[in-house]
């Protein structure tokens, strides 16, 4: 993994621990190949111009919502899944934005349930993609830049 991937994985571990109290660990990329049924995205625009996306399985999304709302997984509605996954993406996106050159603005998150297509900009270049697993369910965090020069501006220690 690159340093940026390590930073993203650390953000996800922190978010999962603080907000969900669920285990999460970096997983082989193949684990994430079946995701895309639940996808959320948030845009960073300004000095940095990119999209941060979160993809997971329906089971993973329900586990996220149940943990955040403090409910049983069988009781959560699609609206609650959308709210929880969107807010989680907002938190991850905000933290990733802090790693990128600023000043930039963060959009509101958008969430797609039941779609096989991840919310990616076809003209985007991948800055980073981190695959993790939580209780066996895949979590894929991607950062897509619409500015190819962005890659060279990512700060390194």
């Amino acid at each position: 993994m690159t340093l940026v991937d390590d930073d993203i994985a650390e953000i996800v571990r922190d978010v999962w621990s603080s907000m969900l109290s669920l285990p999460v660990a970096v997983a082989p990329r193949a684990v994430g190949r079946t995701t895309g049924e639940v996808a959320a995205a948030i845009e960073v625009s300004g000095a940095s111009d990119c999209v941060v996306s979160l993809e997971t399985s329906p089971v993973g999304a329900r586990a996220i919502a149940a943990a955040m709302f403090g409910m049983d997984e069988g009781d959560v509605t699609d609206a609650e899944v959308s709210d929880a996954v969107g807010e989680l993406t907002n938190v991850i996106g905000g933290n990733i934005k802090s790693l990128l050159p600023g000043p930039s603005r963060l959009s509101l998150p958008t969430v797609t349930l039941g779609s096989q297509a991840p919310q990616r900009d076809s003209g985007a270049a991948a800055l980073s993609e981190v695959t993790l697993a939580s209780d066996g369910e895949p979590i894929v965090i991607s950062v897509w830049s619409r500015d190819p020069a962005e890659l060279e501006r990512i700060p390194t220690p």
């Binding site: 978010v15 709210d83 905000g94």
Partner: protein, 123 residues
């Protein structure tokens, strides 16, 4: 004491309220608003002792809410609970008159440490 929690995410409003309890602030009356405009109206009627507001919301953002409050002469204690905790955001928050900025994700220890000076009487 009345605390107004402002966030467009219902689950985040729940988590903020839950974390206030976990931090030991038991004697609070929690009110909610889902954006800055709704909060501005609620602050006029509810007169909360503290506003805990998200930054990035539809209709009216948290920073716009704080600006509108101060321009109207309302000096209600105000803090941000937001996903963006960069130095630039903290400077903007402080310049606008916010008491603090708590970055998401947070835990009860952070709430206890930051909010004790404001809500100590509620413990």
């Amino acid at each position: 004491m009345i605390v107004l929690v402002v966030d467009d995410s219902r689950v985040m409003r729940m988590i903020v309220a839950r974390t206030l309890r976990q931090a030991g602030f038991e004697g609070l009356s929690i009110r909610e608003a889902s954006d800055g405009r709704e909060a501005f109206d609620a602050i006029a009627t509810e007169q909360p002792d503290l506003v805990l507001s998200d930054w990035n919301m539809p209709t009216m953002t948290g920073i716009d809410l704080l600006g509108a409050l101060r321009r109207s002469g309302n000096e209600v204690p105000f803090g941000f609970v937001t996903s963006e905790g960069s130095k630039e955001m903290r400077q903007r928050a402080e310049a606008a008159g916010a008491l603090f900025l708590i970055a998401k994700p947070f835990n009860e220890d952070t709430f206890r440490h930051v909010l004790m000076p404001v809500l100590g009487a509620a413990r």
